[in-house]
């Protein structure tokens, strides 16, 4: 599913060169449920951005679903993001002036799915995360847990092979965190590969494999259970 081979990434921060990733090699099988842990600055967000084709890397290779992800045009990158990957962010990243159902349907808009059809699908996914009743609400009218469930519905609506989540429970209390993690487990049970970046031990403990990053290197990689 995912194959990283000696991936390096360096940032220029003022006069300093920061080596965010110092040659990461990592394989993730289809259907796995992986957490990436690490302190701030360990390179975990950079790794997630590269996996999500939101960012480029300097050297090495990255293969996603058999496709080499390298030197893509913006259009190609948009296509892969849209078709293969679902994103969930710590700050939800919903569009404020759109209702919950419109937010969920947005990825399908970029696939050219007709409005009626995509709104119907969006309602199905909202129902799945238990928010069909809040479909017409704007993000500002939703609680944090509700907003994140909308974001999960949005990430799933394109039936991605890979779900990437960046601190998905970072802004939530423990009860809503549990709800979100339950959603991820359900999705994983359906065969979707899930990768969560988190710094919380108890969240990582709910996944099946945990990868510890330290200063741009893999410090520990263990299978749980």
């Amino acid at each position: 599913m995912i194959k990283l081979q000696d991936v390096r990434k360096t940032y220029q921060l003022g006069d300093n060169r920061v080596e965010a990733l110092k040659g990461i090699s990592l394989s993730i099988e289809s259907g796995d449920f992986v957490s990436v842990q690490g302190s701030s600055g360990s390179g975990k967000s950079t790794l997630l951005n590269i996996l999500g084709i939101l960012d480029s890397y300097d050297s090495g290779s990255y293969t996603l679903n058999g496709t080499a992800i390298r030197d893509l045009t913006q259009k190609q990158a948009a296509h892969y993001r849209n078709r293969f990957i679902g994103f969930v962010f710590q700050s939800f990243n919903l569009i404020n002036h759109k209702s919950a159902v419109e937010n969920v349907a947005l990825p399908l808009y970029y696939q050219g799915v007709p409005r009626r059809e995509r709104n119907q699908l969006a309602m199905d996914y909202l129902d799945r995360v238990g928010l069909a009743g809040r479909a017409e609400h704007k993000p500002a009218e939703l609680s944090g847990g509700q907003a994140q469930r909308v974001a999960v519905a949005r990430a799933l609506i394109t039936k991605p092979a890979l779900l990437l989540a960046d601190e998905p429970t970072g802004a939530l209390d423990s009860e809503t965190s549990a709800q979100i993690m339950q959603l991820f487990r359900d999705v994983n049970d359906e065969g979707v590969t899930v990768l969560i970046v988190t710094h919380e031990e108890d969240i990582a403990a709910q996944t099946r494999r945990t990868v510890q990053l330290r200063d741009g290197d893999i410090a520990r990689d263990e299978r749980l259970e």
């Binding site: 993001r81 849209n82 994103f87 990243n93 002036h97 970029y110 696939q111 949005r154």
Partner: protein, 411 residues
């Protein structure tokens, strides 16, 4: 290019940013409004000045008597040149482009005009039949002086409508006799003139009759003719020909411009036409500046719009929006803003011009402010096109936003 979904996206975005949208619309609408108003005012002033030329035939040339300023063929300088019937005949026979031609003889002194027991004083002009065309007099009743009047030295008069008002009450005017000083004339026609009140307080007599009555022999004071549809160059050539014909007969130097003074109405018309060319250039520059301001405003607003929506654009890109989709969204937004604004500005300015046309008091400076509709429509289309283009650069920048950076921006 723009499907229903894009329309809905745009409508939503514009609704969300009402103030910004309203400001952009206002700026562009104001630009178009001012431009159309400027064009209208320019046209109005032009119409107003052209109205000033309505009094006389635009293509007329007037020849006045003068004094020589150089000695010529034994004649001393300072000699007065006096016109006579021979000069009229000579110009009439020899000018290449003379279309209508007349002489004028002024009896001079006070002209006391009497009808029954009413008396007043009016200006008398003794003329040929073609004078009608030179002064652009309009016969409202009866007829003007004709060739038979000239040949038979008939004692007939054509009087202005203000003369009728002054001397007559409700009686029939045509066929009545009026006395000018000691002589009696039969009124054969009434005229009006767009040159205003004083032009309508004139009395016209046949030139031959007046020369006889006032003992002037064959003297005339002025020669006037029109050059038909001759060009300005031909009309200048005709001036020169007139000067040569008269110089030959009166023995003055052709180069002596003060011996006879020639006044070419086309010269004045040409000057005014030139002036209007420059007024149009000025209006075009100011108008272009106004429109440019509007376009910059749209561009500016789109830049702000893009900056404010960096995060939203980042989200859209993360969800799979292609750069083209982002560009299309922003460009379409500026297209709609400018199209609506252009239309509103056009509507408001045309409305105001119509209102002005209907209500403006007749004056010497502005008459019938109007615009050429295809020109204005083309200008509006240009504004819309340029406004759309103005949205393109910010749109390109938006499309190139790095989603990672954009997503880090807080709302």
């Amino acid at each position: 290019m723009i499907d229903t979904d894009t329309w809905q996206e745009i409508a939503q975005s514009l609704r969300t940013h009402k103030t910004r949208t309203a400001l952009a619309v206002l700026t562009v609408a104001w630009g178009v409004f001012m431009l159309v108003l400027l064009l209208g005012a320019g046209k109005g002033i032009q119409n107003g000045v052209e109205l000033q030329f309505r009094d006389d035939a635009v293509n007329s040339i007037r020849v006045y008597q003068g004094k020589t300023t150089v000695a010529h063929q034994g004649h001393p300088r300072g000699r007065s040149i006096k016109f006579g019937n021979d000069d009229f005949d000579r110009l009439n026979d020899n000018l290449d482009v003379a279309d209508r031609i007349t002489a004028r003889y002024y009896p001079g002194g006070d002209s006391i005009v009497t009808y029954q027991n009413r008396t007043s004083s009016y200006d008398i002009r003794a003329v040929h039949p073609d004078h009608l065309y030179l002064e652009k007099s309009i016969i409202t009743e009866g007829r003007f002086i004709n060739e038979l009047d000239i040949r038979e030295r008939r004692k007939v008069a054509v009087i202005g409508v203000k003369v009728v008002e002054g001397l007559f009450e409700d009686e029939a005017v045509l066929g009545e006799s009026i006395a000018i000083n000691a002589s009696t004339y039969r009124v054969v026609g009434i005229f009006r003139d767009e040159g205003g009140r004083s032009e309508q307080e004139k009395i016209y007599l046949p030139v031959s009759t007046a020369q006889l009555v006032y003992g002037a022999g064959s003297r005339v004071h002025q020669l006037l003719y029109t050059v038909g549809d001759a060009s300005w160059e031909e009309s200048k050539a005709s001036e020169q020909q007139t000067r040569e014909l008269l110089a030959d007969r009166h023995n003055f130097a052709v180069s002596d411009e003060r011996a006879v003074r020639i006044y070419n109405n086309l010269d004045e018309y040409q000057k005014v036409t030139d002036l209007f060319f420059w007024i149009r250039v000025f209006v075009a520059i100011v108008g272009a500046g106004t429109v440019l301001t509007g376009i910059l405003a749209v561009s500016n607003i789109m830049v702000i719009s893009v900056a404010e929506r960096r995060r939203e654009i980042g989200i859209r890109k993360a969800l799979g929006a292609t750069p083209a989709a982002i560009t299309r969204l922003i460009v379409a937004e500026s297209l709609i803003i400018t199209a609506i604004a252009g239309y509103l500005g056009l509507l408001a300015s045309l409305g105001l011009l119509e209102l002005l046309k209907a209500t403006i008091v007749e004056n010497d400076y502005i008459y019938q402010p109007d615009v050429n509709t295809p020109v204005v429509a083309a200008v509006t289309l240009l504004v819309v096109f340029a406004g759309t283009l103005a949205g393109y650069l910010p749109a390109r920048r938006a499309a190139a936003v790095n989603p990672v950076e954009a997503l880090q921006q807080r709302d």
